[in-house]
């Protein structure tokens, strides 16, 4: 329940946060990585750190995770094909051999077809996600943003105590 509430909060806050559409879109693009790729992997630890350390919208990151996690599950068969194709590609074999015999790198689990396929897909999609999100948020704020902000539901959700914790990661303009 708490998690659901948190997701709803993050969506509302993000869409109306003081972060610029660029910051929110960048956060979403990074969050998409966590959503699209299997969670318990080393690269996601780096992505979480980046979302926190870079001046992007933390809520945007949460929104990215929330939106792209179901998509990740649905696209797993495609990620598997992409990853397996890359891992079994004769042209890349020497690179993988060096890579996966280098300290620490094997802990990324990029030698798994789904992890590699989803990560590469995210790399390809990150820029389009960023631009699409930036355009969408700008349009939202310009059109129905104010109306939603004045709604009772928005007031109720933002009154939650979780909001205080969330504000710690508010982007600095």
């Amino acid at each position: 329940m708490l998690a659901i509430l948190k997701i709803i909060q993050s969506i509302f806050k993000t869409l109306h946060s003081e972060g610029t559409p660029r910051q929110v879109a960048a956060g979403m693009a990074l969050g998409a990585c966590i959503g699209l790729t299997p969670l318990l992997n080393l690269h996601n630890l780096a992505i979480i750190s980046l979302i926190a350390l870079l001046n992007v919208s933390f809520g945007g990151g949460m929104l990215g995770i929330a939106l792209f996690t179901p998509l990740g599950f649905a696209l797993d068969p495609i990620f598997h094909r992409v990853g397996l194709g890359l891992l079994n590609s004769p042209g890349l074999r020497s690179m993988w051999t060096v890579w996966f015999n280098t300290p620490i790198v094997p802990f990324t689990n990029f030698n798994n077809s789904v992890v590699l396929g989803s990560f590469v897909s995210w790399l390809v999609l990150a820029i389009p996600i960023y631009f699409l999100a930036r355009w969408g948020i700008a349009r939202y704020r310009a059109t129905i943003g104010d109306m939603v902000r004045r709604s009772k539901l928005y007031q109720a959700v933002t009154a939650s105590k979780l909001y205080n914790l969330y504000r710690l990661f508010d982007p600095e303009s």
Partner: protein, 608 residues
């Protein structure tokens, strides 16, 4: 105002978050690794693997495991092996590359065939190991049609109508017919491609022309030109002869193939006779068949298990340095495929350099301990460069001394994998054997057992034998009253015998295996059965043979003629071609001698 890139105030929360992850790892690492060992082990072996405890000692680069149980895939209530405690000393450096290199492993309290508290879970249906287990079961069923000792009344009056599609002879004959046709076509094309006639005609024409000419009238230039022509023709004959010799080799190879095909047809016919006899429920009276019926299944069970583990080893310990695809880890998301990329001069993904094992054997574990040494077990044998070996031995001085010797070798270093195991047991309680199709069982008691198995590439070989001097036969009391003629005869023979000797021999290839079984009961049972049902058997066998011959005779007869015709035709054509070439060469050589013998002394002929 420019937007800042970093959020400095988040550094402390991030550091705290990373520290939290590290703390969680320290708390749960043992449990996570234990679960992973259980998952990977169960998935690899195709049977449940349980580990009661696991502790990683990071500071000592070691790990301790306790309560290892590996369930028997063919009996979920039993363990294949159970180990009390395992300690592994790790090499630390490869761990940063996610590799497990065990310098020394100590395994104590190993026992075999213990009873499980809870039955093992079956391996998932789609797991590769489960599929392999099912494949080896199918392999045994499909490749060995073990004869059954029929118990019904001998019925030679029963009409016997065979379906041609059921007979192996028909298939073998059709296959050989196709081979013969393609061989004939290939040989005809090759014969036509070798231009014997033009070469012979050219040589004969030249020889005849020169024979009609006087060399003395040609002068030096004319003689030299004639000699050059002759030598060129002789060279052409030599080249053609070389082609004929090559063709001769091809013909020889084709003849071997065709002869083998005829042999296969004959063997298929014998199998079809046996199949037809089986439809008449004739009791077995051939000694080898009786042994196969009595002890074929127990021996096959051992060989099937050995083949499963050997093929498992070949699957998970591949030769060479090719990347290995294996199923990914279990998780909510799709598991995918994980690919290992071995690299020369690096550590393999898993390596056990040496393992020292203490184990107990037999029901009384207090009277003897056995030692085993396992070396070089690795997932990438080409990197380690040496085969994995297992040697175990032990002796307990009981009234009948108990001796155990085990040897195993898994050599996947070269391109052709070799897996072999040998076991020699003396003075051990041998397991009870049921006789398939008959309501009897035999308890061999304490005796000797030998087992060996080898899988080298596609070739398999194995032996299984037991010797017992105090065997006890038991009949199913419920069905004893209704014993028929065959059961009674067999029971009379076996019930008085205490000595039991069984030998089984496996050979051939995985795709075409052979099994021979013999025992000390064969001849005694065969003679008794022949005595009581000899006449009826002869009638039945003749009937079965006639039923098969009726279908296959019109296919096999012409086929034999076709193959013989092809062989004869090829030999005749080759002989004819060779003779023509020999004759032409002789004519040319005669002219060459005539022309060169007529030259004035000192004149050298131009070299070709």
């Amino acid at each position: 105002m420019a937007t800042k890139i970093f959020r400095w105030k988040a550094i402390i929360p991030v550091v705290l978050f990373l520290a939290l992850v590290a703390v969680l790892w320290i708390i749960f690492a043992d449990r996570i690794i234990r679960t992973q060992i259980e998952d990977v082990g169960s998935s690899t072996l195709g049977t449940e693997l349980d580990l009661a405890s696991f502790q990683l000692r990071e500071t000592d680069a070691a790990m301790d495991m306790g309560g290892l149980q590996i369930a028997n895939p063919s009996d979920p209530k039993k363990n294949l092996i159970e180990a009390r405690a395992i300690t592994a000393d790790l090499v630390a450096l490869p761990a940063v590359e996610k590799k497990v290199v065990i310098e020394r492993l100590t395994l104590s309290g190993l026992r075999f065939g213990t009873t499980r508290k809870t039955p093992a879970r079956p391996a998932p249906k789609d797991s590769p190991s489960r599929k392999l287990w099912e494949q080896t079961q199918d392999w045994a069923k499909q490749n060995f049609a073990l004869p059954k000792i029929a118990m019904q009344r001998v019925d030679t009056v029963k009409s016997l109508v065979l379906d041609p599609t059921q007979l192996g002879t028909v298939k073998a004959a059709e296959a050989l017919g196709a081979t013969a046709d393609s061989t004939r076509q290939a040989l005809t094309q090759t014969f036509q491609s070798i231009q014997v006639k033009p070469v012979v005609d050219s040589a004969t024409t030249l020889a005849n022309r020169l024979a009609k000419t006087d060399p003395a009238k040609l002068g030096v230039t004319g003689v030299a030109a004639a000699v050059t022509d002759v030598k060129r023709n002789i060279d052409q004959i030599e080249q053609t002869r070389k082609q004929i010799e090559d063709l001769q080799k091809n013909v020889n190879t084709a003849v071997v193939t065709l002869n083998q095909g005829l042999k296969d047809v004959d063997e298929a016919r014998q199998r079809d006779y046996a199949f037809a006899r089986g439809l008449l429920n004739l009791p077995l009276v051939s000694a080898p068949e009786i042994s196969q019926a009595l002890f074929g299944q127990p021996s096959l069970d051992y060989f099937q298990k050995a083949l499963y583990y050997a093929q498992l080893a070949q699957r998970y310990l591949p030769p060479g340095l090719r990347p290995l695809n294996r199923p990914g880890p279990k998780r909510l998301r799709m598991a995918g495929t994980t690919v290992d990329f071995p690299k020369e001069h690096e550590y393999p993904k898993f390596l056990l350099e040496r393992g020292d094992i203490d184990f107990a054997f037999g029901p009384d574990t207090s009277k003897g301990q056995f030692k085993a040494v396992l070396t070089g077990l690795t997932t990438q044998p080409a990197l380690y460069g040496k085969p994995a070996t297992l040697e175990a031995s032990g002796k307990v001085a009981l009234a009948t001394p108990l001796v155990v010797e085990l040897k195993g070798l898994s050599d996947h270093v070269g391109e052709v994998s070799k897996d072999q195991a040998e076991a020699r047991l003396q003075g051990v309680p041998l397991p009870q054997l049921s006789v398939p199709g008959l309501p009897f069982s035999v308890t061999p008691g304490v005796g000797n057992g030998d087992f060996s198995f080898a899988l080298t590439g596609d070739r398999i070989s194995g032996t299984w034998s037991i010797q017992a001097n105090h065997a006890e036969w038991a009949a199913d009391s419920a069905s004893a009253a209704s014993f028929g003629l065959v059961e009674n005869t067999i029971w009379r023979v076996v019930s008085g015998l205490n000595q039991l000797t069984v030998n089984a021999e496996l050979g051939g290839t995985v795709s075409a295996p052979t099994l021979k079984v013999s025992s000390n009961l064969d001849n005694a049972i065969a003679n008794q059965l022949r005595a009581i049902a000899g006449e009826e058997l002869a009638k039945g066998e003749a009937k079965a043979k006639a039923a098969v011959d009726k279908i296959v005779a019109d296919k096999v007869g012409p086929l034999e003629a076709k193959v013989d015709g092809l062989k004869g035709q090829a030999a005749q054509q080759l002989g004819l071609d060779q003779k023509q070439l020999d004759d032409a060469q002789k004519l040319l050589e005669a002219q060459l001698k005539r022309y060169t013998g007529g030259l004035p002394g000192g004149i050298k002929l131009p070299k070709l």
